[in-house]
């Protein structure tokens, strides 16, 4: 039901799914972390990162909680460096059994 609440409160649909960040994250992670379950540090909602709302039109990527829009993840590339900020989540639970499928 959280999804509905967000849908009704959003005025413009300018986000994609966390899914769409998988290519960029595959540059540095050995497993596909978009299938990892993360717990929102604000409201406690626990969902796959692929289900987050992903905003891609700034200088980097911002993933927000689909329930409360709290920032879960920020990613910015500056020349040869990637800055990652995961502090919006209290944890990420990764399935390591499928690591061979990661690109």
């Amino acid at each position: 039901m959280a999804r509905q609440a967000v849908a009704m409160s959003s005025t413009n649909y300018d986000y994609l799914d966390g899914n769409a960040a998988a290519g960029e994250l595959s540059k540095v992670f050995a497993v596909d972390i978009t299938t990892a379950e993360g717990r929102c540090g604000e409201c406690g909602t626990t969902k796959c990162l692929a289900e987050a709302h992903l905003y891609m039109h700034g200088p980097g990527l911002v993933a927000r909680c689909p329930a409360c829009e709290h920032v879960l993840l920020r990613l910015v590339n500056v020349r040869e460096h990637m800055f990652l900020d995961f502090r919006g989540m209290t944890y990420l639970r990764l399935d390591t059994s499928r690591s061979e499928e990661a690109s």
Partner: protein, 246 residues
Amino acid sequence: MWRVGTVVALHDETPTARTITLQVADWPSHVAGQHVDVRLTASDGYSAVRSYSIASAPNSEGRVELTVERLPDGEVSPYLTQELAVGDRVELRGPIGGWFVWRSQQTEPIQLIAGGSGIVPLMAMVRSRASARSTVPFRLLYSVREPGAVFYRDELQAISSRGGSVTLTYAYTRATPKDWPRLPGRIDASLIAETNWSSKLIPTCYVCGPTSFVESTAALLVTCGNRPDKIRTERFGPTGGRNEFH
């Protein structure tokens, strides 16, 4: 890691959408529903990256098909749909994404709902079902502007008329074929109730299309009794293709 794909075939799906078949060396195969990032680099070093869903079924021959819709103001899609020729090369990263996927080991009924070019990853699932000889029942609800905008028309017709268990329903939003029983319009609760699996069967639902389409459809599925955790979504950007951030 970027790989080089060589264009081996081009096929126009509609006046504005083209399927590009690439042969990719060392392609690790993919799972239906995954996407690739495509990188084009100009002679001055400027490069642009876009994400496109894979349309083809997983295969071991290193063949990857993408269907690209031309966006009027696009930077990459006009090149891919109008200028790219057989023999040309593009760079690919992927396959990407392990969430919006259908694996042939799945046994539950599957509900696919496409909005416009959102049909592409769902077509990969339909093709994957066939190539894996899966007998899992699929239902596809395909929302499209008008009959001329349908992708993969003949193949979908053939698959759904085979008497097997892939059921296809079109929902036209602007213009219908002659004598079509339903007025043009968006997918609503009654159409979902009429054409989708009963939520009692606990189908897994895959919804792909523009963000507004996905939002409204996912909400309708929940209203119709589907479990939110059985609904997987893939949104395209407001312009119909995934944005770049490079």
